[in-house]
Symmetry: C2
Subunit: 187 residues, 2 copies
DNA sequence: TTCAATGCAAACCGTTTGCAGTGTG
DNA sequence: CACACTGCAAACGGTTTGCATTGAA
């Protein structure tokens, strides 16, 4: 249950919070937008407003349960905080996301920050390009332009100029989150 | 003049384009939002609409003259493309931005990408924290909360939850852009 | 002379906020 | 029983778009 995790984080337990944490924990997608969380909730019985989703997610971020970032300007993307800081590889075409951690980069970056007198609290590295599959697809049908990504183009996709992903899943090393007694650094 | 640069990039020359490129080139700020560009234009004689600013900037990005990114979810920030890819250190408190390039990080990252089968086209590394000045200020008046940043708080600043910069200047090694015959890779 | 670029204003869309009602601690 | 949390709907703010007009090539 998500219950004790929320309390351990110093938050009041409520139904919306439990459900949202649950969704983040169980969803196939590691990275979800507020709207995706909201829609997932709709299928459920209880009525939970968008505002609540945003507020709860913000609370989670502040409490350190969840991390938030925006891949290249779109909307916010939320991700359960599994403790290990990591970076992202994103496919411009299909939206596939691959996570990776790298001490060398982290160290180098913090050296540089120190040299500039910065006290770093957070950082993100995101690389955009084509995943293996999409490289293949593109080569295969050698279509010069306007090839539709294999994963469904998603109906309400706004023309995001230049770059237009809309993340789908993918990540190595899956590990349960809610079940084991995870130690939340309460605040 | 910006004229031949725009043409070299394969774009039709128009007054708005010349002016906007000029502003990006001459402004003290290396990183400008569309709105900042727009406001800078207002002081000028000619009437140029916001839509045009957005459209022109988008064209510039597509032509490779300008690069665009969003520091942690806010709006887009545009920056004249000076050829050398670089990363950013951003002060959470005053918005100061420091740029740095690092081959080691770039190399490492592209190795990792290759290992995952990705063909990277672009990447960004941004680190958030406190610059030296802000660390000092905070220590000095040891105010636990709600300290106002030294650089004016900027009136229309939306409460961006968690993080709320609003960039001001700062960058090492200034180098003119428009004057020398820069080689634009036209497309 | 044609078709891309512009200006204006309205539309969009993700996110935030005000307010009255609800339910946790 | 107080006060944080919720739902709803309206507000917000950055960006995009439709359409008639202008102007570069």
């Amino acid at each position: 249950m998500a219950d004790h995790i929320i309390k351990q984080a110093g938050l009041r337990m409520t139904a919306p919070r439990a459900k949202i944490l649950d969704i983040l924990a169980r969803s196939g997608k590691r990275h979800m937008s507020a709207d995706e969380v909201y829609r997932e909730l709709q299928g459920d019985d209880a009525e939970i407003g968008q505002a609540t989703v945003y507020r709860v997610l913000t609370h989670f971020v502040e409490a350190g349960l969840v991390s938030r970032q925006s891949f290249d300007g779109g909307h916010w993307v939320f991700e359960l905080n599994r403790g290990e800081h990591h970076y992202h590889l994103i496919c411009d075409r299909c939206g596939r996301i691959v996570e990776f951690a790298d001490g060398l980069i982290a160290g180098r970056q913090s050296d540089i920050a120190r040299k500039h007198g910065f006290d770093i609290r957070n950082h993100s590295l995101v690389a955009y390009g084509l995943c293996r599959n999409c490289q293949r697809s593109l080569a295969r049908d050698a279509a010069p332009f306007d090839v539709r990504p294999d994963p469904t183009p998603e109906p309400g996709a706004r023309r995001m100029a230049i770059r237009a992903p809309r993340a789908t899943v993918d990540t190595p090393g899956d590990r349960p989150f809610l079940d084991p007694g995870i130690k939340t650094s309460a605040r």
